[in-house]
């Protein structure tokens, strides 16, 4: 299948065999088979040529992303290191009160985990669902090194009364199966109560859904702004004589050649309250010295800086499409009686749609995943969901949570891509 898709001739061969099934070659062999044989060599060679790239993509892209995504629903930190109590959970119904067997299994597992130094992993896993549980495990683990005597319930409660918490047992039951939807629930500001029902988290802790909405809203806004700013520039570039448009193109591409951090920092210098723009406004008397505008370290900063950084991704596809639009189309429309606005709206603009679609898709998808710029200039109101992903990757080291957030982001981008395909058609896309 793979090589059929890769080799255009293969598709033709299939059609040919369907049509000419009854035909034979001069010496009586079926024509279709002869054709397939004659093309097999070429097909194999074509496949071998793309093999390195295929392997490269597989190794560096598909597998890592797949494994990353797997973390979002698979975490065996508890089940692997606590086999006995996990078995007890598997054998009993949700809501069963822990009996002595459960306590014994727990004690045995905890002792083993403490010796194997895996108890931290177990605690970390439970802590994802129940804040504060980690220290319960690690401190119990330290106290356990001498071993435990039955009855285990009393023995464990003697070490820490927290072991009696029904929320803890509910969380352990959840974690006893390596497959879990809890990270996705958490990524949608949901959690499970002690009966396993899904409910919203405390209002003071709801953050992800709002950030997803904000990310999409801001990305949409930034896409719109790059369109408004980029369209006239692209048009100018496409209509100016080559020499002038090349110069202008350098100005458009300049941000590309500058380090992202330098660009972001220069926005700080320009936009901060003691910055250049405010200085000029004060000097001009537009605003008073104590009315300096807050244009950075908030949403405005994120929007301005990201619009600037992503502008070339809108301009370039638009430009390459506009370059190919013959000026005679607009002339034809004018000669047919259209005003210049009607000619633009009904004849020129529709022909730029492939470039616009490509540019908008590029900018939007890049904006959705951006994190350095919002982190530096976004203050508190300009943070995006990717900043949370980065935080979970590098600071809280909760990779499962990062993976769940990233998977949701990926899924929503794919949905948008699908929508785009349905509404505009992906074959209409022109990337340059």
């Amino acid at each position: 299948m793979a090589n059929v898709a890769l080799d255009p001739h293969a598709a033709i061969a299939t059609t040919a065999s369907g049509v000419g099934a009854a035909l034979t070659t001069a010496d009586g062999k079926p024509l279709a088979r002869a054709l397939a044989r004659s093309q097999r060599r070429a097909r194999r060679r074509a496949f071998l040529l793309v093999l390195p790239l295929l392997a490269f993509i597989l190794v560096t892209f598909v597998i890592p992303i797949g494994q990353m995504l797997q973390r979002s629903f698979y975490n065996d930190g508890f089940s692997r290191n606590m086999p006995q109590v996990s078995a007890w959970f598997a054998a009993t119904e949700r809501g069963t009160d822990p009996d002595e067997a459960a306590w014994a299994a727990l004690a045995a597992d905890l002792t083993a985990a403490a010796e194997a130094r895996t108890i931290g992993m177990v605690g970390t896993r439970i802590n994802y669902d129940l804040s504060g549980a980690r220290s319960l495990f690690t401190s119990t683990g330290r106290a356990l090194r001498g071993g435990l005597e039955p009855p285990y319930r009393e023995a464990l409660l003697g070490i820490n009364e927290g072991w009696d918490n029904p929320m803890l047992w509910s969380a352990m039951r959840e974690a006893s199966r390596p497959y879990t939807a809890n990270f996705y629930l958490a990524a949608l500001d949901r959690t499970r109560d002690e009966d396993g029902r899904i409910r919203q988290v405390d209002e003071r802790q709801q953050v992800y859904v709002m950030l997803f909405m904000r990310t999409f809203w801001l990305s949409l806004l930034i896409t719109g702004l790059t369109f408004l700013l980029g369209f006239p520039i692209a048009h100018l570039l496409a209509t100016l004589p080559m020499r002038k448009s090349n110069l202008l193109m350098i100005l458009v591409l300049l941000p590309f050649w500058t380090s992202l951090l330098v660009r972001t920092t220069s926005w700080m210098v320009l936009l901060q309250q003691q910055g250049v723009v405010n200085d000029i406004l004060v000097w001009l008397g537009v605003i008073g010295h104590d009315q300096r505008l807050q244009m950075i370290y908030n949403q405005t900063g994120t929007i301005i800086a990201m619009t600037h950084i992503l502008l070339p991704f809108m301009v370039l596809p638009l430009y390459s499409v506009m370059r190919t639009i013959n000026p005679s189309y607009v002339r034809a429309a004018r000669s047919l009686g259209a005003t210049s606005w009607t000619a633009f709206r009904r004849v020129y603009f529709p022909q730029t749609l492939p470039g616009l679609g490509a540019g908008a898709l590029l900018v939007f998808i890049l904006a959705v995943g951006y994190y350095i710029t919002p982190a530096l200039v976004g203050g508190s109101s300009g943070q995006l969901i990717s900043n949370m992903i980065a935080m979970h990757m590098t600071s809280t080291l909760n990779w499962s949570m990062a993976a769940a957030l990233a998977a949701l982001l990926l899924a929503s981008v794919l949905v948008l891509y699908w929508l785009y395909d349905r509404l505009v058609g992906i074959d209409n896309l022109k990337l340059g």
């Binding site: 002339r331 034809a332 004018r334 047919l336 259209a338 004849v347």
Partner: protein
């Protein structure tokens, strides 16, 4: 007939000049009147200013100086969409994102026409170019000839009185081009519209036009009906640009009324009709069409001067025989003979004497 048209000039250029850079003129003092219902062709090499003139008429270029009038009304300040001129472009300029029907509907929609009337007109226009079944196709699904017809239908669908065509057949192959030439010509006759047609193909110009304006170097070199242009070119450029032509440089030896004797630079004296010659001794170029050259004395008028020619080669071309001769120092003198049963066969190396009717040889300005 010509004068009638000049009387009620439908389109008029008056002292029109055009410069793009403020230093050179691409159109130099253009004066041209086009009558209503006329098929006028602007013919000339590329860069001669013909397309610029068309674009000024359409409104896409502004005249640097002078006035352009349409139906008596100055249109210099009228934007293109208010001129009501139909136009067919070199690359057809069919809107690729619209179907054929939508393309035709466009000029009607922008004129605020109702749906039923639009449909009727679109159908009529498509039928007119025999493309009635193609209304729902996209331009990309049509052949070059079909796109050409649609472009024509679109330029005509809103009933303009004037239609401009900018090398509309340039992209078609020879056979299709000739076929379309007739169709356009017939449409023009049937609809009674005025057509200004730009081409660099003289064959096309000769076939289709009522009058041809030959452009060169920003000026109209000659404005005349096809036959006059071919047979009575007024200067060397027109003579050499239209049709095949032999040019022989020389000096006027005798000048008497509409007859002149020219002493050729390569030796020999020949008859010619003086065209833009004022006095004896003036330098001139004598222009003679290959098919008007005779080598049999009985075909020449009595007393005609002849000169010696040596046959260099004879090419068989089916309907005609084409001989290349060495005449008066030139090795590129061409003579065409009809391929008839009694035609005398010439052989390379043979020496003959050639001559012609004096009115067929025109003494023009020196090249």
């Amino acid at each position: 007939m010509l004068d009638d048209r000049l009387g009620d000039a439908f389109v008029a250029f008056e002292h029109v000049q055009k410069s793009y850079d403020g230093q050179t003129l691409v159109v130099k003092d253009l004066n041209l009147s086009i009558g209503k219902g006329e098929f006028l062709t602007m013919l000339g090499p590329s860069g001669s200013g013909k397309t610029t003139c068309l674009m000024m008429l359409a409104g896409f270029e502004t005249a640097t100086h002078g006035e352009i009038r349409l139906a008596g009304r100055p249109i210099n300040q009228v934007p293109p969409h208010k001129r009501g001129i139909g136009m067919v472009f070199q690359n057809y300029a069919l809107f690729p994102h619209m179907t054929v029907g939508e393309n035709l509907s466009f000029p009607l929609e922008v004129r605020g026409m109702g749906k039923s009337e639009r449909e009727a007109r679109i159908k009529r226009a498509l039928d007119m170019v025999q493309m009635g079944a193609f209304a729902n196709r996209r331009p990309a699904q049509l052949s070059g000839g079909q796109q050409q017809r649609i472009a024509l239908a679109r330029a005509l669908v809103f009933d303009p009185e004037l239609v401009l065509m900018d090398e509309p057949l340039g992209a078609l192959d020879k056979q299709l081009r000739e076929h379309m030439q007739f169709e356009i010509k017939h449409l023009h006759e049937r609809l009674g519209i005025t057509v200004v047609y730009v081409t660099h193909d003289q064959g096309e110009a000769l076939t289709m036009s009522d009058r041809i304006a030959v452009f060169n170097d920003g000026r109209i070199q000659q404005l005349a009906p096809p036959a006059a242009l071919y047979e009575r070119p007024e200067n060397s450029f027109v003579a050499s640009f239209i049709g095949e032509n032999n040019a022989l440089p020389g000096v006027i030896e005798e000048l008497e009324g509409d007859k002149a004797l020219v002493r050729l630079d390569g030796g020999g004296v020949i008859d010619a009709t003086p065209v833009n010659i004022r006095e004896r001794g003036q330098r001139t170029t004598v222009s003679i069409r290959p098919e008007r050259v005779e080598f049999k004395p009985e075909m020449m008028p009595p007393g005609a001067h002849t000169i010696e020619a040596k046959v260099l080669e004879v090419i068989y071309m089916g309907d005609i025989l084409r001989a290349r001769l060495a005449v008066a120092g030139s090795d590129n003198f061409v003579m065409k003979m009809r391929n008839t049963i009694g035609q005398t066969r010439l052989d390379p190396g043979q020496t003959i004497r050639i001559g012609w009717h004096p009115q067929d040889a025109r003494a023009l300005d020196p090249v």
